[in-house]
Amino acid sequence: MVRHTRREFLKRTAMAGGALAAGPLMSTVPFGIASAQESAAPPVAPGRDGSAPLLQMCIARWKGASAASPDEMKTLATKLTEQAVATLGGMNRFVKRGDVVWVKPNMAWDRAPEFAANTNPDVVATLVRLCLDAGAKAVKVGDKTCNEDKKSYPSSGIEAAVKAAGGEIVYIDDGRFKEMAINGQRLDKWLVYPDIVESDLVINVPIAKHHSISKVTVCMKNYMGVAGGQRGQWHQDLATCLCDITRFMKPRITVVDAIRILTGNGPTGGNIADVKRLDTIAAGTDVVGLEAFGTELLGCRPEESKMVTAAQKAELGQMDYRKSALREIEVA
């Protein structure tokens, strides 16, 4: 039985006060950063496995046996994705029970997965499964493709993988775009696919690729897949337009597929010699940090990338991702 003495009371109060004061000192998030991402993130909850809340980025690298066969690649991709998301706090950090989730991969090109033109299908399928396990009502997957969708969807391997994981494949219907207010610096209104933006959560899953115009295409360019109309015009001021659409989409979670990257002749690829295996997945809430990371993977300096610097200036995130709440893990 506790004795209600004055000493006891003072001891208890001191301990409580100490804990309150120590909490912020012990957390890994510096107070200085108040990015747009924090306000967009759902209310903070510690991850199920007790990992630190408000982790902004996780880089997962494969350190297991080298994978070659399709099954080994599938295991690699699945484990990397699972662990990257788990380190961020688990999918529950982003998905509420009953949510309708749209997973937005890059499946724009009529290329098989080995050519690294589209997102790895096993990564997409794993995300679908994680969302469903977190209690999502439905998980939809789709992209406004550049090649014919009836060819791109199956060739990318994503259609089959998503269906096997219990997700819903959606073919974009050109007649169903609606004009929306982007209210950007360059884009005032643009045709956007309502099905996507009306979802409770959009998970952006790009693949890191070489791109002649922007040098590199990672997170922000992948958002073009939600837009219709004459998107070709955007190339006349690509960095600004991509910042506009990224701000419009309010990114909450981005998963960068760098298991295979395309180092040349992007974004269509087609030459297997241009594909490099990095066996890495980077996931996080800071789209600019991930953009910078992807840029580095392709051998470019983020400071030299117009996309990254424009996004930094537009206050969409922090390009120096090492300064943010980052954890790098090894997966086997």
Binding site: E148, G175, H211, S212, G232, Q236, N271
Partner: protein, 567 residues
């Protein structure tokens, strides 16, 4: 069972078979594109394979066939034995005509008079003669009049897209305008119906075809003629009907009149072929469709089909073609061919820049000697890029396929058109080979292209170029602006050794009215005479590792290296 009851049963069986054949035709039409990644089923060509006019016409013009026409032979044998049962029971166009003729009684107040044979029915034989003479001398207009080709072309280029447009446009209008009463939205009803139609019934995005209106009008005209005379096309025009008629002067199954006929003429009122069932000595076996309407109508039971020896003539009726008219028809066919060949383009004196043919298409002369103008390739093309010509290939090449990159490009990983072509006018090529064929060459219009003419960054074309080493590259230029400043822009160039003319650059170019990069037929692999570029020259870019294959493309080449036959 008396003959009338038996005949009534046979008539009903016939109707079921006809409905099944037309349904099968529609199903096969629908199946042309449904699964783009799997190789197309050989069943797609079923009706073309059944049709004997196609292998005969093709063999006459090129002396080779892709494979032995077994099914066509079966049709011919059946016709020799049973008469024109193909016309009466199987031909899907015939079913359309039959159905329209049946509607006649609702359109015209007067009942159909006794319909006896007239000399006009010889017209189809003369047309057949003209077309066959034309084929002998190397031209292939069979496809313009062949019923399978005609029906497929009309349904694929006009009827099907028209129906799809009506459904989809209406549904999209409702979706976009979103009429609602309170929280009751009309689109909640229309969207599920629309999605079902789009995914299950139509199975692909709606297609549009240049000249679809003309094809529709002609088809509607042909069909509406049934309201004037039953099965007008089948009686007076159809060259396949003529061919089958030529094969059935002495069938084994014959119409026989027994004494007791009162001459009431009911049978002749019901005969769609005007084959004179009411005239015992004058029954026209070459016209009769074997539909059994006459026997089913006869109240006295005095006519019936019986199996008899083929040796004696079935009646005094003869084909009775006037030699003079036949010769004139043949001469007309020849004159038509000469007329086709008067143009410089037909003799390879000039090349039409817009005539970009599908990948695997033979050189123009060989192509036109096989192309049926059927439209299967156009239906199959996943991007809707293959369009029917009007005069771009001359009158001889009317309704043959041309790639219009503004509408649809040639998908890099697709070789469907060659796989579905019934006569291999477009050769079926393995994907790797198809990807090396140049359809043409992309050329920049630097008076429009943004980095050249408007000092703006673009390069959407280069972004989409599908070749493993891109055929569009850029050179970074420093350019002066109007304010005297210097900006740095990427200016695109085409590598003519690598460009395969697929057209995706033109398709995605931001200029949607007239693209700033356009593919013309120059440098096409199939014509050695249309090559501006000396291959493998080190110039602005490094020479490619491999150069494109060299089939002889000369329109007059007799020794073209093609595994499917000579010429």
């Amino acid at each position: 069972m008396n003959s009338k009851r038996r005949a009534t049963l046979i008539v009903w069986v016939r109707r079921v078979v006809q409905a099944a054949c037309l349904s099968l035709f529609v199903v096969l039409l629908h199946a042309v594109h449904v699964n783009d990644s799997a190789p197309p089923s050989p069943w797609l060509k079923f009706f073309f394979d059944l049709d004997p006019l196609i292998p005969i016409g093709t063999w006459l013009s090129v002396h080779s066939l892709p494979s032995f026409p077994w099914l066509a032979l079966i049709t011919l044998i059946a016709t020799v034995l049973l008469g024109r049962v193909f016309c009466g029971w199987v031909c899907p166009l015939g079913v359309v005509h039959n159905a329209t003729s049946w509607l006649r009684k609702y359109v015209r107040k007067t009942p159909h008079p006794r319909d006896n044979w007239t000399r006009w029915q010889r017209g189809k034989y003369y047309l057949l003669a003209g077309l066959l003479v034309m084929a002998v001398f190397g031209s292939h207009w069979i496809g313009v009049f062949d019923p399978m080709s005609l029906l497929f072309r009309a349904t694929a280029a006009a009827v099907y897209p028209g129906a799809q447009y009506v459904v989809e446009d209406a549904a999209t209008d409702v979706y976009q305008s979103d009429p609602h009463v309170g929280s009751l939205h009309l689109k909640a009803v229309t969207e599920p119906v629309y999605r079902f139609m789009r995914d299950t019934v139509f199975g692909r995005k709606g297609q549009t075809f240049d000249g679809g209106a003309l094809i529709l009008v002609l088809f509607a005209g042909i069909v509406l003629l049934n309201l004037y005379k039953n099965r007008f096309w089948c009686r007076y025009v159809c060259p396949l009907g003529g061919l089958l008629g030529v094969c059935s002067p002495r069938p084994v199954m014959r119409l026989v009149n027994t004494p007791g006929c009162t001459g009431c003429g009911l049978c002749a009122m019901k005969c769609p072929a005007a084959a004179n069932p009411d005239k015992p000595g004058d029954w026209r076996s070459t016209e009769c469709f074997g539909c059994w309407n006459c026997v089913a109508t006869c109240n006295k039971g005095v006519i019936d089909f019986k199996f008899k020896s083929p040796l004696p003539a079935p009646s005094s009726a003869r084909l009775d073609l006037s030699k003079r008219a036949l010769l004139s028809a043949g001469a007309g066919g020849l004159a038509g061919l000469v007329a086709f060949r008067l143009s410089p383009q037909s003799q390879a004196r000039s090349y039409n820049p817009v005539l970009v043919r599908p990948p695997g298409a033979r050189d123009e002369r060989a192509f036109l000697q096989r192309c049926l103008q059927c439209g299967v390739c156009m239906k199959a093309c996943p991007t809707n890029g293959l369009q029917p010509t009007l005069f771009e290939a001359g009158l001889e090449g009317i309704w043959t396929p041309v790639l219009v990159s503004r509408i649809g490009y040639c998908e890099y990983n697709c070789n469907l058109c060659g796989q579905v072509c019934p006569t291999q006018a477009i050769q079926p090529l393995p994907l790797g080979e198809k990807q090396k064929i140049k359809l043409g060459l992309a050329t920049f219009d630097t008076g429009r292209c943004l980095p050249y003419a408007y000092n703006r960054e673009c390069m959407v074309c280069e972004e989409h170029c599908p070749t493993p080493k891109k055929a569009i590259y850029f050179i970074i230029q420093d350019l002066k602006t109007r304010d005297g400043e210097t900006i740095t822009l990427k200016q695109p160039y085409v590598d003519p050794d690598l460009c395969i003319g697929c057209g995706i650059c033109e398709y995605v170019c931001v200029f949607k009215d007239q693209a700033a990069i356009r593919v013309t037929s120059a440098n096409e692999t199939r014509h050695s005479g249309n090559r501006p570029i000396l291959p493998g020259l080190p110039g602005l870019g490094p020479a490619p590792a491999e150069s494109s294959p060299e089939p002889a493309g000369d329109p007059y080449a007799q020794t073209q290296s093609n595994p499917y036959g000579s010429r």
